[in-house]
Amino acid sequence: MTSTLRVNPIACGGHGACAELLPELIELDEWGYPIVDPQPIPPQLIKEARRAVATCPVLALKLIQQLRQLRARRDRDAVRPGLSLAAPSGNHQTPAGARRECS
């Protein structure tokens, strides 16, 4: 399973612990807020990533499982009352795009 890192920008207070523990994937902007690599975390860095997540003092950093898998699980479990247009295939965008689609 591939995972990515995501930061909740509202919760984040710019403490900077994540960038210190995981400079390979996280750098700080000029105000001290993290810029997180959106790519899947390479397997050799998973341990450090988990540590960075656990160290964030405001729990603003999260490890997200690939959305596609979460969606597949949700679609399998969901009750769909005869709506052909809500089919899980076709309209779905890439995870990054899908995140923003309703806002």
Binding site: G14, P81, S103
Partner: protein
């Protein structure tokens, strides 16, 4: 749902015949916005079920609040949610100072919006409906009372007030406010629709009310193949008052904007894009075309900058306002927008330094995509397009020359110094 909702969908539910021609949403002439006039023009709305969502898909209706998201997909997500107390909100919190279309629609055709609100609730199986706006008016109060007296609504319409902030109409901020909190954006999953809350722009709901009556084929008779229907636009022209007008999507921009009196056009409002007037001939009022030029319809604000106004000064005033309207929740937006605003003010003045312009570019990249909401992204779009479109003006400023012949402000911007800053100001 009551038994009334299980009646089959009727394409022509009312007594009135489909109106051909424009306008569709706004009344064709001076007409009282009362229920009798509304029923005489459109007839009663039919009752619908979740099957109506397929009709909305066939119509190709997209959200008119700015994001142009396909309406049927949002409806389908909410309809698929389990749970008894789903909610539909008509979002009429038109927060942008330049936009007047939702206010105008609610003033002139309130019953169409409220019909759409009820229809959306029937389609998704919601038990509560709300109208969310900045200012109520006699027309809205009367409309709600008339409907209550006539007993035509399944769900009682409650009104929620939005605080006078730019982001108050943002979807997650709206939900926060309706649940009793401040109208501040939130971050994360699940999304609003997945919580059984359907938020639709007021104009979108009005279109929904017409699609339920006249069907998707009628809806598609105007507009483009990809983006059917009409849209409400707010047009700001040199020397005139803002004009709200209903246009078929895809009309040439030259038909709306007088190129002779204009140096540049702001498309899509304060989160939108500046385009030089030289591009006007190749532009049409639809996202397919506008996206090719890095622009989008947004909530339908088209502002034609008069000759003699300095585009950089106009942009700097708007960016100062947008920076003040940051919710201040996300570090990059909180830190970046005021810096960009100050640098834009320098660019709008005499002899801006190259270093300042470079900083704007750097900060624009630094804040993009890093907020919980799209406020930094929209602001950056506005700033970048201003620097591109007014590049010649910027060169003049570097030589201590401004080509402006008037210092009269053109774009409407509230005074940021008088805006309250406490958390109470977001309630």
């Amino acid at each position: 749902m009551t038994s009334a909702a299980t009646r089959p969908v009727s394409a022509a539910g009312g007594a009135a015949r489909p109106a051909s021609g424009l306008p569709r949403l706004l009344p064709p002439g001076p007409q009282a916005p009362n229920l009798n006039a509304h029923l005489a023009r459109h007839g009663r709305a039919p009752h619908v079920t979740s099957e109506f969502i397929a009709a909305v898909e066939a119509a190709g209706l997209t959200g008119r609040g700015g994001a142009a998201f396909p309406t049927h997909r949002k409806l389908a997500v909410v309809a698929a949610q389990r749970g008894a107390s789903k909610l539909v909100v008509a979002n009429a919190a038109e927060s942008e100072p330049a936009s007047h279309k939702d206010k105008t629609l609610l003033q002139q055709a309130p019953h169409l919006v409220l019909d759409g609100l009820q229809l959306a609730a029937e389609a998704v199986g919601a038990s509560q409906v709300r109208l969310y706006l900045h200012h109520t008016s006699a027309a809205i109060g009367t409309a709600i009372a008339e409907r209550k007296a006539a007993g035509i609504d399944q769900h009682e319409i409650l009104v929620s007030m939005a605080p006078p902030r730019f982001l108050a109409g943002q979807e997650t901020a709206l939900v926060n406010r309706i649940q009793g909190g401040p109208a501040l954006p939130t971050y994360g999953f699940p999304r609003v629709a997945e919580n059984g809350i359907l938020v639709q722009n007021a104009e979108t709901l009005a279109h929904l009310a017409l699609i339920a009556r006249y069907g998707p084929g009628w809806f598609r008779a105007v507009g483009t193949e990809n983006e059917p229907g009409t849209m409400l636009a707010t047009i700001l022209s040199p020397g005139g008052r803002p004009l709200v007008t209903e246009l078929p999507i895809g009309v040439p921009l030259r038909a709306i904007v007088d190129a002779a009196s204009t140096s540049a056009v702001l498309v899509g409002g304060y989160h939108g894009t500046w385009l030089p007037v030289t591009k006007l001939g190749s532009l049409t009022l639809d996202n397919t075309t506008l996206n090719r030029h890095g622009a989008a319809l947004g909530a339908g604000v088209i502002a034609a900058l008069p000759h003699g106004s300095c585009g950089l000064k106009e942009a700097a005033r708007v960016v100062r306002y947008l920076a003040a309207e940051s919710a201040g929740q996300c570090g990059p937006c909180l830190n970046g927008l005021p810096r960009i605003a100050t640098a834009m003010a320098e660019a709008a003045g005499a002899r801006p330094r190259q270093q300042t312009i470079d900083s704007i570019t750097r900060w624009a990249t630094a804040v993009s995509g890093r907020g919980a909401c799209h406020h930094p992204d929209g602001t950056v779009r506005f700033v970048r397009s201003a620097l591109t479109t007014f590049a010649a003006e910027l060169r003049s400023h570097r030589n201590n020359q401004c080509t402006a012949t008037t210092s009269q402000p053109f774009l409407p911007v509230p005074d940021v110094w008088t805006m309250p800053t406490t958390e109470e100001a977001w309630r």
